[in-house]
């Protein structure tokens, strides 16, 4: 199981800025190991963000997103105390969901 996603959500005016840092290797499938064999791609494919259980954003990612991906987005109408959850799923079928409270 991968390490938790770090999520910080802060209210700024009528919206909340959400910064997330996921923990994932994001292997591109381009790299070769010492023996010259291609290291197979292993990366997050799908990301979903929810505000109080309601989906606000979905994303599809390729292998070109950096290791330990960072994602920042703004959620309209989020208030202090609201719950933001972020789920990712990688191409091996692993998945992880983490939640944070808007401050």
């Amino acid at each position: 199981m991968a390490d938790p996603t770090r999520i910080r959500a802060q209210v700024a005016g009528d919206k909340a800025t959400v910064r997330t840092l996921m923990s994932h290797e994001m292997e591109s499938g381009q790299r070769k190991d010492a023996a010259g064999k291609v290291v197979p791609a292993w990366h997050i494919q799908e990301v979903e963000a929810k505000l109080n259980g309601k989906t606000v954003l979905t994303a599809e990612w390729g292998s070109a997103v950096s290791k330990n991906p960072f994602l920042q987005f703004n959620v309209k109408g989020a208030k202090v105390g609201d719950k933001i959850s972020v789920t990712w799923k990688d191409n091996r079928g692993d998945t992880r969901t983490d939640e944070a409270t808007v401050t």
């Binding site: 919206k15 994001m26 591109s28 381009q30 790299r31 494919q45 799908e46 979903e48 963000a49 505000l51 309601k54 989906t55 606000v56 954003l57 979905t58 994303a59 599809e60 990612w61 390729g62 292998s63 070109a64 997103v65 950096s66 290791k67 991906p69 960072f70 994602l71 920042q72 987005f73 703004n74 959620v75 309209k76 109408g77 191409n91």
Partner: protein
């Protein structure tokens, strides 16, 4: 028994065909929950990636903005910001022209999220980076910026 299997195969074949057609014409519903678009992410250039996603060739617009460094010392981590001031943006894409596969990310927006994202990407070499916004009426707009990479991040 044999015939029923054949029927099932036939049906499967047909539905695969329909899906293919939908994707080709761009009628595929984007919010039909995030089926990962493998073809688009494996496309080797910007035009093929857009075609696989079923969006038209975008036109340059001031309503789309991309923030990226002029020079990235480390191609493994290039911070990119994409935003759009256009109304009714449904989808935002990030593409790096000269990467082995051009498409980096697709964001599917809802009404509760702003067309403003920041993330980090890997770049193999100096290249133009595109931010593409797809609006609700199917129009596409882009902004691009050249990023020079001193040390590639794909090798």
């Amino acid at each position: 028994m044999k015939t029923s299997i054949q029927n099932r195969r036939e049906t499967l074949k047909q539905s695969a065909l329909v899906v293919g057609l939908l994707a080709a014409t761009g009628l595929f519903p984007h919010h039909a929950h995030a089926a990962f678009n493998k073809a688009a992410f494996e496309a080797k250039n910007v035009a093929d990636a857009l075609k696989a996603l079923g969006v038209g060739m975008p036109i340059e617009s001031k309503g789309v903005a991309i923030t990226a460094p002029d020079i990235a010392e480390n191609g493994a981590v290039v911070q990119l910001g994409v935003s759009a001031t256009l109304a009714n943006v449904k989808q935002m894409l990030i593409l790096v022209e000269k990467n082995p596969t051009s498409l980096v990310a697709v964001f599917n927006l809802t009404d509760s999220v702003e067309a403003n994202f920041m993330t980090r990407t890997k770049m193999g070499q100096s290249s133009d980076v595109y931010a593409v916004a797809v609006t609700g009426d199917g129009k596409t707009f882009y902004a691009k910026k050249e990023v020079k990479v001193t040390l590639g991040g794909c090798g």
